[in-house]
């Protein structure tokens, strides 16, 4: 497609929309990184900053929504432009959701740090977060450069988040069975893990939407999901420690 629209202000609106989306992506990645650091360092001040930071993300999403609706109403875009506006609008919703899940993670960090609750090992949780941070970074790069191949790769990456989630679920159950006093902290870690698993799903959804935005076709076939925690039961008499 030619780069320049006949109406210059249309290009300006589209550039602003793209910039807002990229800015949101950058902020979401930073928030998740900070929330993970707060958890690792038991840093309540940083956790509170993450909670506060989510408001800014919500504001950015509201601004992006307004701009996308304005473009649809006033410019009535077609074809590639139409796909870009609609998908950016939709994907921004996913980013905002990742922001909410990150905020919740920071709130839980604050709670368990304040209570000095024992959470058991959190290495797997940190690893899950790092994978999702990479996924966010890659998907924003795929958006900026229109890289469908990278989006396809990111979509598949979500499987490793699911696999880690399964492992962590098992670890936490074991840890809780060992000592009832661990339950509070472990429950919070499990909810944080679920949050991160959902973040991975949201990034995978963005990836699917970007493939449509770039090609005009939705990717064929269902994404392979490996989250098996909903079917997991541990027998207390037969736990490997």
């Amino acid at each position: 497609m030619s780069d320049d629209h006949i109406v210059t202000s249309f290009d300006e609106d589209m550039s602003r929309l793209e910039a807002l989306f990229l800015e949101m992506g950058e902020m979401v990645a930073e928030q998740l990184k900070a929330a993970t650091r707060a958890l690792r360092k038991e840093d309540r001040v940083l956790a509170k900053q993450v909670v506060k930071g989510d408001r800014q993300l919500n504001k950015m999403e509201a601004e992006l929504n307004d701009l996308a609706i304005k473009i649809l109403a006033l410019r009535q875009p077609f074809a590639g432009d139409l796909r870009k506006v609609v998908i950016t609008l939709k994907s921004a919703g996913h980013l905002e959701r990742i922001g909410d899940l990150t905020r919740n993670m920071a709130q839980r960090t604050n709670t368990i740090t304040k209570a000095e609750a024992d959470t058991g090992p959190i290495d797997t949780l940190i690893r899950m977060s790092e994978i999702v941070q990479d996924m966010i970074g890659s998907i924003m790069r795929a958006y900026r450069t229109g890289d469908t191949e990278l989006a396809t790769l990111v979509r598949a990456l979500d499987q490793s988040v699911d696999t880690s989630h399964n492992a962590l679920f098992r670890e936490m159950l074991t840890y809780m069975m060992e000592d009832l006093r661990n339950i509070s902290g472990c429950m919070h870690v499990m909810f944080m893990a679920k949050n991160i698993e959902r973040m991975g799903d949201n990034v995978a959804d963005i990836a699917k939407e970007l493939i449509y935005m770039n090609t005009g076709d939705w990717p064929e076939g269902k994404r392979v999901k490996s989250d098996k925690t909903s079917k997991m039961i541990l027998d207390p008499d037969n736990v490997e420690t």
């Binding site: 497609m1 030619s2 780069d3 320049d4 629209h5 006949i6 109406v7 249309f10 009535q76 875009p77 077609f78 074809a79 590639g80 432009d81 139409l82 796909r83 005009g216 076709d217």
Partner: protein, 263 residues
């Protein structure tokens, strides 16, 4: 088709088929090797920048180009199993089967009734005065105009508003019971409300008629048509289901044109 890639199409029986159509004005070639099926009981929109040949192509369908001395049409256009450019074809009869509505409403300087009755009279379609009245009223109803003019059928057609005059012209085209109605930018002189009324009318008309419309408004093409054909520099660049053309066109030239970029 000049290029291989096309947007997705909805399968439908064509009522009219153009194959390898070329149109020349003197030495200048205005249409280059265009092939297009017109599906029955659907609305087909022809879009493209000014001078792309879309109106010229539309006028091929009822041999309106015959009236231009320097114009020469080659290729094959089949309608009802017959090449409409065959020497055996009665052009007047052809135009009663394939009616036309123009950009500017052009009612005859006659009464509303006589405007609509004109075609049936010259084609001898009405056996009695009552029959003629039936045809006129039915045509005005189908054009969505009867309720607005029922008490003033003897007033001049030119006394109506622009939108009403255009619907009068549609009623006049319908009155000779055509199968296809060609519309050359029928709403370009109308306000948005009159345009919406005509678009709504077209939507209901497609149950009985096949419509081919030339429009400069891509929004209008997107709103009213089921099939869209994009012309550029006398070539048919791409045709297909309207939904596909406006969300995911196959050709870069189509993409550039419909998204307002210089093609």
């Amino acid at each position: 088709m000049t290029e291989e890639k096309t947007a997705q199409t909805d399968a439908s029986t064509p009522i009219m088929t153009a194959s390898g159509v070329d149109v020349f004005y003197g030495k200048k070639q205005a249409i280059k090797n265009v092939s297009l099926d017109i599906p029955e009981n659907q609305i087909t929109a022809l879009i493209g920048p000014s001078g792309c040949g879309k109106s010229t192509f539309l006028r091929c369908f009822n041999r309106m180009n015959d009236t231009i001395d320097s114009c020469r049409v080659t290729g094959d256009i089949q309608f009802a199993g017959q090449d409409i450019y065959s020497s055996k074809v009665d052009v007047v009869a052809l135009r009663s089967r394939i009616g036309m509505v123009f950009q500017k409403a052009n009612p005859f300087p006659k009464s509303i009734f006589d405007n609509v009755a004109y075609g049936p009279r010259i084609h001898g379609l009405a056996e009695t005065k009552d029959h003629l009245e039936d045809i006129v009223i039915t045509s005005l109803r189908r054009a969505g105009l009867y309720d607005e003019v029922s008490d003033r059928l003897n007033e001049p057609g030119t006394s109506l508003s622009g939108g009403q005059q255009q619907r009068l012209c549609i009623a006049r085209a319908i009155a000779v019971d055509p199968q296809i109605i060609l519309m050359d930018e029928p709403c370009s002189a109308l306000d948005p409300i009159a345009t919406a009324i005509i678009e709504n009318l077209m939507d209901s008309m497609k149950e009985k008629y096949t419509i081919v419309i030339v429009t400069h408004s891509m929004q209008q093409a997107a709103r009213v048509s089921q099939q869209t054909a994009f012309f550029h520099l006398g070539e048919l660049v791409e045709s297909g289901a309207t939904e596909s053309i406006f969300t995911n066109p196959a050709q870069e030239r189509t993409q550039n044109y419909i998204s307002g970029r210089i093609g």
